[in-house]
């Protein structure tokens, strides 16, 4: 039912209704379906078994990202199972007429990095992908969410999805972020506040002056992490920064179409007086850079803090989870975050592998060196990001500082390629999940921003860029 005062989510939802019937989920049209090698093979197989085709190959784009190695990409892939999965993706795209950016292609990269940078992700769209971090594209004012493989097959076959309307949640961050506090820290602070389940069943709209003053890259980082707070999607209303980011990108509308698009996009922001089902307010002023200490992203403290005592949690479930996390992470309650030493630093993933992230890390690395005994990887999010970084000389800065400069892909974010942690290895990572084993069996992950990751590589323990000597 159309309300008189609508939120951004309501507007996108209403404009994509194919069908709405009492007692049934709404049927939503999907404007863009992004596909990658891991969650699609069984969906294509399902189509073949049912004798169905892909309804809109023109609204479907595939890339190889999760499995791709980040070294020697001109050579055959060593892992036969990964190799097969990438071959199957290419063959499926060929068979069903889908555009595919394979390993080594100029447009290849992490699916959530290439959508925005190619201008495929635009305000007011519905975007899905068989990947939970599809929420990233919400930074452009799209309703973008992750789906399972059965739903991937459904979208391939029908270009629609039956969906129950989600609840809405406003997360407002007002004020000015202190220097050195990034979108990543805002995301971690929010999850620390609402918990990993706080957003379940909701689509989050991020609002407030601290949000609107974020760059597009920063908004992507923030929306990316929505799923870590349980929300299926996160969105930021499109504004001039959004339009400036999009203008001139390969798939952005041009000429008269651009003007038409702008007219529609300008009408998308939430109406004054519209209400949300849930509201959370954060002050930007007091925020500090954050570091996770546990095995879910809600187990997080400011960098000035220390590893908490499990007994300090009121809820028995939280107490037990904290105790289990400390055992897995090999940490003792009371240890100052700054006293924790790391073995590895990973700068990459769909959360923090865009050009702005690499610039922030390079600014810290420049003139410094990774401390002896620490391995540090920089994995750009896409070939385009890599090319841009190289044109700015960032690769040289990283190499001179002792960081490895790699080829684009998901890499150590989920350890499906050879970039993995070994048991007990401790890593400062700019990715989004500190789950047990996420970066390799037994690996210990601490989530941080790119600037803190770079400073940590130089210091050998968690620290801020301001602690790094020049």
């Amino acid at each position: 039912m159309a309300k008189s005062k609508m939120t951004l989510v309501d507007k996108v939802w209403e404009s994509h209704l194919v069908r709405s019937a009492e007692g049934e989920p709404d049927l939503l049209f999907i404007d863009l379906h992004l596909v990658h090698e891991v969650t699609s093979p069984q969906a294509f197989e399902g189509l073949r078994m049912a004798g169905r085709g892909v309804r809109r190959p023109d609204l479907t784009v595939a890339t190889a990202d999760h499995n791709v190695p980040t070294v020697d990409v001109d050579k055959p892939i060593a892992d036969p199972v990964s190799k097969k999965q990438l071959e199957v993706l290419a063959a499926n795209c060929e068979e069903f007429g889908i555009v595919c950016y394979p390993m080594g292609h100029a447009n290849q990269g992490i699916v959530h990095v290439i959508g925005p940078e190619l201008g495929l992700s635009q305000p007011g769209m519905t975007i899905v992908c068989g990947d939970s971090h599809t929420s990233t594209h919400g930074a452009l004012g799209a309703l973008a969410f992750g789906i399972g493989t059965s739903e991937v097959e459904h979208v391939l076959a029908t270009q629609t999805l039956p969906q129950i309307r989600p609840a809405t949640m406003a997360v407002t961050v007002d004020g000015e972020l202190p220097p050195g506090v990034t979108a990543k820290d805002v995301a971690l602070a929010i999850i620390g506040r609402i918990g990993t389940g706080g957003g379940m069943g909701h689509v989050v709209e991020y609002r407030g002056t601290a949000i609107t003053s974020l760059s597009m890259e920063g908004r992507m980082t923030l929306c990316n992490m929505s799923i870590e707070g349980g929300a299926r999607a996160g969105m930021v209303a499109p504004d001039d920064a959004t339009f400036a980011y999009l203008e001139g990108r390969p798939h952005a509308p041009k000429g008269k179409a651009w003007e038409q698009a702008l007219d529609e996009w300008r009408a998308l922001p939430t109406d004054e007086g519209a209400t949300f089902d849930k509201e959370v307010v954060l002050e930007a002023a007091g925020l500090l850079p954050h570091v996770t200490w546990g095995t879910n992203p809600g187990q997080v403290v400011a960098i000035d803090g220390s590893v908490p005592d499990p007994d300090s949690f009121a809820e028995p479930a939280e107490r037990e989870a904290a105790a289990r996390a400390l055992a897995y992470m090999g940490l003792t309650a009371g240890t100052a975050i700054r006293d924790i030493q790391v073995d590895t630093v990973f700068i990459g993933s769909c959360t923090n592998s865009r050009i702005e992230d690499l610039r922030a890390a390079a600014a810290v690395a420049e003139g410094n060196h990774v401390v002896a005994g620490v391995r540090a990887l920089v994995v750009p999010g896409s070939h385009r990001v890599k090319a841009q970084a190289e044109s700015e000389g960032l690769d040289e800065v990283f190499r001179a500082a002792g960081f490895e400069w790699r080829e684009p892909g998901c890499s150590m974010c989920l350890a499906m390629n050879p970039d993995k942690l070994t048991p007990g290895e401790r890593c400062a990572s700019t990715s989004n999940r500190n789950f047990e084993g996420r970066q390799g069996r037994g690996g210990r992950t601490h989530l941080v921003s790119p600037a803190v990751a770079a400073a940590t590589a130089v210091l050998g323990r968690f620290g801020l860029p301001t602690e790094v000597a020049r």
Partner: protein, 198 residues
């Protein structure tokens, strides 16, 4: 998918919160291009521990998994559902599920039973005390019961999903009945929306 009306049998208590889909099926297992054979990878890293609840003989043959809050958070991997089904579970019980995971369950006929936290807690305790406790989940009525322990609760399912589960209906088939509506919608889309080819 297979219709499911009632799930009845013994249950395994997985007394942990925030069990994400990376724990349910680690990423090593995601390289397979098949839909079968994932049961061996279920909770792969935890199963190395002999005392892990799934390794305990008294819980063998259970058809229901009872977990703490926030079960199935994180990654969208439907492999998690395939692994649970392949292992032999027909229903999962938790006070709160990851949205995508719960959705994936209903596409495959694995019943996501979202119980009140008190019911969840009571079940975990009762199962720890008595591994032979019989639990019955009725999809049509939306109830979960373990009479021997005096536990009875309800769980929400929207009517459409309930009907689909009970009949084992395929979503795509249902949507394709409305192909005319899709075609009509397509005719109204702004021409400037992006296309993969342009």
């Amino acid at each position: 998918m297979r219709p499911v009306t009632v799930v009845s049998g013994t249950a395994v208590p997985l007394d942990r919160s925030d069990v994400d889909t990376d724990q349910i099926i680690p990423s090593d297992w995601l390289k397979r291009v098949e839909r079968t054979g994932f049961g061996a990878g279920l909770f792969a890293e935890w199963r190395d521990d002999r005392s892990f609840v799934l390794n305990r003989e008294e819980y063998a043959g259970a058809s229901i998994l009872v977990a703490g809050p926030n079960f199935g958070t994180g990654s969208s991997r439907e492999h998690a559902v395939w692994a649970l089904l392949d292992y032999g579970f027909e229903a999962v019980v938790s006070p709160r599920f990851g949205d995508i995971f719960a959705n994936n369950c209903t596409k495959q006929g694995l019943v996501p039973v979202r119980v009140d936290p008190e019911v969840g807690r009571a079940l975990l305790d009762a199962l720890a005390a008595d591994p032979s406790l019989e639990v019955t989940i009725d999809v049509e009525r939306g109830t979960i019961e373990a009479p021997a322990a005096g536990i009875a609760g309800t769980f929400p399912l929207d009517e459409f999903t309930r009907t689909r589960l009970v009949h084992g209906w395929d979503d795509i088939g249902l949507t394709l009945r409305h192909e005319d509506s899709i075609t009509a919608y397509e005719a109204t889309r702004p021409a400037w929306r992006p296309s993969a080819s342009a």
